[in-house]
């Protein structure tokens, strides 16, 4: 590589910075640095004439490294980068720094020291680019196919969006029919329209004339081009990389093929009866069955755990189209997709663990799902609300809210939709049976969504009663076969014993079965309540820490259908954006392992938050770590983890860190002891930015930027002390908010370890401190900087024995 010819461009922001910083002195200093072939000064360099100067200097070959001290660095950096790139210079050779908010502004009161610091900052930038290596751009394939896991509301919406956009979509559903939980809900709040629609979702099929954009009797989901639906299927293995995943699907045998005309003869002759899960076990079904009324696929299915197969085979005999194949085997299907969307929804909590409510023991204590199936006129009771114990009509019904929700013993969160569901069900029952006696026992009524409060009003108008109080127990009077709900009406301050024919428990909504297993297969995280964890629900909704794997709908947290729909569309857009170009172009600002040095300690794959490091065999029974450049986010946590320093970041090598540390601590004309602040490019850096914009802090605090504080090793801190720092501050994101998931927590551990090391070396551990700050805590950074300066002054000069 050719020798470095460094150009330094100083923006003085309309002459404002030069009122504080001595630009002449700085320029002279710069000219004395070996390799600096050009020093220029102007008001701005990120646009206009200033930018042209840089480009010309690059094009003329006068310089092959660029350092710009810019007044609007964030936007400026992007603008400068775009132009320089087109001038042919690799971006790793460009460094933009902020002499305004990181130097002049906060150190207005000490211009001499500010000038000193400015020199040090420029020197550090120069040394960094001097050592830079070009960073390659790599191109990875992005297969324009998406796997959607889960055939409920969210899954179907997302699948349909993407298929419409031209992507190949595979929608897999573990049950034999689409629809998920919501399909059994009869009606959706707040509009009270039919839930059955989502068993066969809407589509913008161009070939069908539409009379309405909402109702979906014209479902043609099977006819949507590019959409392949696989029911009875689940993912069992994931290989490959974002943009190019290889997924292994296991498809359970249905035993009935598409010759089926859904006549139902098979079911009439089937001798086996089992509890009907779809109808919440209120009734039974045959081993060969179909959920009613509108399902996809409209093909019967045999429950392999109940069927007697060839011992019986009566269904085979009667099937008019010969559609039954009892010898069908499970299939393994391998798919190549670029992105995966998880839409596995949620399920109802089983309240039998709350023993005082006797669910499972008293047959007339039921959950919302069971009630919904009864309300459904297509359901097992033909729309009648009956008591499971004696099949008589239920006239007195008591609802109990928050069963297993907002409960620290079971699920501490509020499930969000159960108040609305109870109001909905109560109103539906009252509509058909105006003389029904309904009471809802609640802790709080939560009707927060659009149009939701109207539901509450309607319920009160219909004469539904509300008791503020959580029942302690449900009792049963065997003499009259009546349930008694023991509750305190706290508003009345009276104890009530509500007599009920039926008690409906508004059970919590919890993660679907198999979530843990699925998370493991995909390599994504669950949150503390067991739902799939969004990377950041405010800034990066539906994303996970693995690019290309998205999550949406109830699988991330219980939600109502409109919200699930929204979430699904959002995930579809993300997937489309990710795969649209058909390729992923990435600057390889990533980590790489020097395999010769790798000692096979196997720590880095565990600490990498993105699962980007795998172990590959290196012969003779050992393994070495290898970083996937596609998955790597360039944070450097692995660099900080590796005990032998075998891992380096392309965009910030250990040599570059050392050079910057030395540079920042040189230029030491005033006698004040120096503090080195190492800050992350995310929250930590923003705290410095905001501190610098409006506050002041001592100029003896010099700052070094790293991608994530997780990259820091004890060695860097010791180097800082050796290079002349009397104190070291580490400034990173909050532990729960680290932008690279785990970096600042690792840094904290590193700091504790280093404090012990310092003590062993006879150096006061108080010289080292970690701070976790965010943008709006600029004042806390200024305070911390002051505190550290004072502290090291009190401690006196550092003596390294």
């Amino acid at each position: 590589m050719e020798e470095a010819r460094i150009g330094v461009f100083l923006a003085d922001s309309g002459g404002q910075l030069s009122k504080i910083l001595d630009f002449e002195s700085i320029t002279e200093f710069l000219r004395g640095i070996p390799g600096v072939t050009l020093v220029q000064r102007a008001s701005e360099f990120w646009r206009g004439y200033g930018l042209k100067t840089i480009i010309e200097a690059v094009k003329s070959g006068k310089i092959n490294r660029v350092v710009v001290a810019e007044g609007i660095p964030k936007i400026g950096e992007i603008a400068i980068a775009k132009s320089i790139n087109s001038a042919g210079l690799d971006l790793s050779f460009v460094e933009v720094l902020d002499l305004k908010s990181h130097c002049a502004w906060p150190h207005r009161d000490s211009p001499r020291e500010a000038t000193e610091k400015a020199k040090a900052m420029l020197l550090a930038a120069i040394e960094k680019v001097r050592l830079s290596q070009p960073i390659e751009k790599a191109v990875f394939p992005a297969v324009k196919a998406v796997l959607v896991i889960g055939g409920g509301v969210a899954g179907m919406q997302a699948a349909e969006d993407l298929a419409d956009m031209g992507f190949q979509v595979y929608l897999i559903e573990k049950e034999p029919f689409l629809g998920g939980l919501a399909a059994r809900a009869v009606r959706f709040f707040p509009t009270d329209d039919c839930a059955v629609c989502i068993q066969s979702p809407t589509s913008d099929l161009k070939t069908v004339t539409h009379t309405s954009r909402k109702c979906i009797y014209r479902s043609g989901i099977s006819e949507i081009p590019n959409l392949q639906i696989l029911t009875n299927s689940r993912i069992i293995k994931l290989e490959g990389e974002p943009g190019n995943f290889k997924v292994t699907i296991e498809k359970k045998p249905r035993y009935v093929n598409d010759r089926c005309v859904a006549c139902g003869l098979c079911a009439t002759v089937c001798p086996v009866e089992v509890p009907d899960e779809y109808n919440a076990k209120l009734t039974t079904r045959k081993a060969i069955y179909m959920n009613m009324p509108l399902v996809y696929p409209p093909i019967y299915v045999i429950d392999g755990s109940a069927c007697k197969f060839h011992e019986c085979a009566k269904c085979v005999e009667v099937c008019p189209t010969n559609a039954i194949d009892l010898n069908q085997k499970a299939e393994t299907i391998i798919l190549n997709v670029g992105s995966i969307i998880v839409a596995t929804g949620f399920k109802e909590f089983d309240p039998s663990v709350i023993k005082e409510y006797h669910y499972g023991e008293y047959p007339d204590v039921i959950t919302h799902l069971e009630l919904a199936r009864m309300i459904d006129s297509f359901g097992p009771t033909g729309g009648k609300i009956i008591r499971p114990s004696d099949k008589k009509e239920a006239k007195r019904i008591v609802f109990i809210q928050c069963v297993g929700s907002r409960d620290k013993r079971w699920n501490p969160y509020c499930s969000g939709i159960c108040c609305m569901i109870s109001l909905k069900h109560a109103a539906l029952i009252k509509e058909v049976h105006p003389d029904a006696d309904i009471t809802i026992c609640y802790i709080d009524i939560r009707t927060t969504g659009r149009e939701h409060e109207y539901y509450y009003e309607k319920a009160r108008e219909m004469g539904i009663k509300f008791v503020k109080g959580r029942p302690t127990e449900i009792l049963h009077d065997p003499a009259t076969n009546t349930l008694i709900v023991d509750v305190e009406d706290e508003i009345l301050k009276r104890f009530l014993e509500l007599e009920a024919d039926l008690v409906v428990l508004a059970a919590a909504m919890v993660p679907s079965d198999g979530s843990e297993e699925l998370a493991k297969i995909l390599g994504i995280e669950l949150d503390k309540d067991g739902f799939f964890k969004e990377y950041n629900s405010k800034l990066r909704p539906t994303e996970t820490k693995i690019r290309g794997i998205l999550i949406c709908g109830g699988a991330t947290f219980p939600k109502d259908v409109p919200t699930a729909s929204l979430h699904a569309h959002s995930a579809a857009i993300k997937a489309a954006k990710f795969l649209n170009e058909g390729k992923i172009v990435k600057d390889l600002k990533v980590a790489y392992v020097n395999e010769e040095y790798c000692g096979d300690c196997e720590c880095c794959p565990v600490t990498c938050p993105y699962g980007a490091i795998s172990l590959v065999p290196s012969g003779n029974g050992h393994f070495v770590a290898r970083v996937s450049p596609l998955k790597c986010e360039g944070c450097g946590i692995c660099v900080g983890t590796c005990p032998v320093g075998a891992i380096e970041l392309n965009h910030l090598t250990s040599k570059q860190i050392s050079a910057q540390i030395k540079a920042l601590l040189s230029v030491n004309e005033t006698p004040k002891p120096k503090v080195l602040a190492i800050y992350c490019s995310e929250c930590g850096g923003t705290a410095l930015d905001s501190a610098g914009m409006t506050m002041s802090y001592p100029a003896n605090v010099r700052a070094l930027k790293v991608p994530c504080t997780g990259v820091i090793r004890a060695q860097h801190i010791l180097e800082a002390f050796k290079a002349g720092a009397q104190g070291v501050m580490i400034v990173g994101c909050k532990p729960e908010g680290c932008h690279y998931e785990a970096g600042s927590q690792m840094a904290k551990k590193k700091v504790e370890l280093t404090k012990a090391l310092l003590a062993a070396y006879g150096i006061e551990p108080d010289r080292l401190e970690m701070f976790n700050l965010i943008y709006i805590e600029g004042d806390k950074f200024a305070e911390a900087a002051r505190m550290m300066s004072e502290r090291i002054e009190k401690l006196g000069p550092l003596v390294i024995a």
Partner: protein
């Protein structure tokens, strides 16, 4: 000014000042740490045998008054002494508030404020004199041989007194209410 309706027919009109430090103090007491988790669901009230029998005691209401900072009413009042420590409320509380322990903590605070029912003074004296809250009379002790029971081993009352001195228990009792 807070107007509290208690038991439907007793209206208290702006009596004592609300004490904003009260809850902080309760939380710092051993046993009182969980009081602020209470969200007034009322499960404790309907599971309480005493509340079902009398209007003078209701655990939910008791916690409510405490959470509002009405320290005078709680510490000088009758209610905290009416809990039978059956732990049914604590067992069923969905927020895992240790209600029975909180009531013990409130009693501890009342005693520190000098309000102690005579009954408890008697218990304490038994403890300090003999090492037992229910003293064993000499008569009963002598009869043991008649029943074929081995003689009672002496209690460790000496050591107990040292413990009581170490915790300051003895000083608590000298404050009469």
């Amino acid at each position: 000014m807070i107007i509290l309706l208690m038991a439907g027919d007793f209206v208290r009109d702006g009596g004592g000042k609300s004490n904003s430090d009260f809850i902080k103090n309760v939380k710092e007491m051993l046993g009182g740490e969980t009081i602020t988790s209470c969200y007034q669901c009322g499960t404790c009230a309907s599971s309480c045998p005493v509340a079902k029998t009398t209007e003078r005691f209701n655990p939910r209401q008791l916690l409510r008054i405490a959470l509002l900072g009405e320290s005078d009413e709680i510490l000088s009042g009758d209610a905290i002494w009416l809990c039978s420590s059956c732990y049914n409320c604590q067992e069923r509380c969905p927020q895992k508030v240790e209600i029975a322990e909180v009531i013990f903590a409130l009693r501890n605070m009342a005693i520190r404020a000098g309000k102690i029912p005579q009954l408890y003074i008697d218990f304490a004296n038994g403890l300090m004199n003999e090492g037992r809250v229910v003293p064993v009379s000499k008569f009963v002790e002598k009869k043991r041989a008649d029943y074929g029971l081995p003689p009672l081993k002496p209690t460790g009352v000496e050591q107990l007194r040292k413990i009581l001195a170490a915790t300051g228990f003895d000083k608590l009792i000298s404050k009469k209410g």
